[in-house]
Amino acid sequence: MPLIRRIHRLTAVLSAVMPAALLALLTACGPAALPPGDSIRDADEAQNRAVHRFNLSLDRALVGPASEGYGSVVPEPLRRGVGNVAANLSQPSHIVNNLLQVRIGQASHNTLRFLVNSTVGLGGLFDPATALGLEPRETDFGETLHVWGLPEGDFVMLPVLGPSTTRDSFGIVIDTALNPLRHVLPEADRPYATAVGVLGRFGDRHDNGELIDSVLRDSADSYAQLRSLYLQNRRFELGGPRLGYRTDGAADGLDADPYADPYADPYADPYADPYADAISDPYSDPYIDAYAQ
């Protein structure tokens, strides 16, 4: 009898500890190395370009005009409210991912933010949390996979959703399945949550209209430009929490965090020739020294 009880207790402890141990094992590998800002892997470029053409026509025919209409019909304060509600609804998903990343500080930041905005902020309509120093800190399962050590893979252009990577596309699928809201909200309320999310996107499209239009319409190659902007910005986001920068001239930043700088430091290797021709390998260092000769 005591033996069975002991086995029971052991399995109870194990089932509680195992996921944590697995997580610890995963995170022990450390985050994946971030490729430098200008490195691009795009194995399915032809297909991605086809999807991009589809997205462009969708934006021209539907999303652009709908966002324009939404922006001109709905006044700014209400639009911001909808955007706030949409952001607040995705907050639980951020918290779950923060926990999976074992970033406890971020998880408590996002939990506090969610609590403040859901109560004082009237269900997320307002965003008093930001004023209290609890600014938005978004995350997703793609980042969780990065923290677990998964490299980004190839660049992928998703229909409707836009630029992504192999890893982050998986992340989107998992995020949709994992979203706590899906499990908590009554079935009948879910379409409202989705609608708020879509309206929030329309609001973003409207507010950033000029910037988006300039990239999509004025670029020589909008696909290449979008790909470059997305990858650079995504890698910046994944660079993790900001370092404590010092203003006294101490060079702690780049050495302390290899992910803070998207460019490989040509001086990292003491035997590397500092005067090597940067033009011969444009990706080793983005800056060509015009005074080298």
Binding site: S219, Q225, E237, Y245, D248, L254, P262, P266, P282, A290
Partner: protein, 203 residues
Amino acid sequence: MPSDIRPTRRTLVTTALAGLALPLVPRGAAALTTATASGLVEQVAAEITRIINSGQSEAAMIRDFERMMGRYGDMPTIAQSVLGPPARSASRAQLSAFADAFRGYMARKYGRRFREFIGGTVAVEGAQDGGRFIEVISNVRIPGRAPFEVRFRVWDRSGSPLFIDMLIEGVSLVISERSEVGSIMDRNGGSVDATIEALRRLG
């Protein structure tokens, strides 16, 4: 042990040349500090704010902006970095024409969006040594928008501290424009001259 430790003619010549050239190396090279670079960013931010709030016409603002880029930007370095590998086979005249065309293109492309920054402030938050350059980290606040991070990269290879890049939320101007200029060049059959011509009209 290497049997021959006598200097070859080539090493002799290089050493002599290096010795001759040494006094020509700009002294500023060792003097560039994070404080100097931060000061430069603050100075430029103040000047841009003045241009934006001057109330002058867009064309005049773009002209002012282009002049500023010439004064504070290391245009030869930026232009060559943006041009990438084709810079290697380009002539000196082509490089300089490209740098000028690119400067005008940048001024028009970004100068036109200046009014989005009205009321904005730039706060320098710190600076770090990036090896070949100093990176100044700043926080930009524009009314009605979430604050965002802008990093400025400064070096003094030319003899005085100048900007070589600007990164907005991790997006480097040099890297983005290299992609864009590469596309323009592809469209023009890989010709540097045609690309320069195209840049003069664009932006």
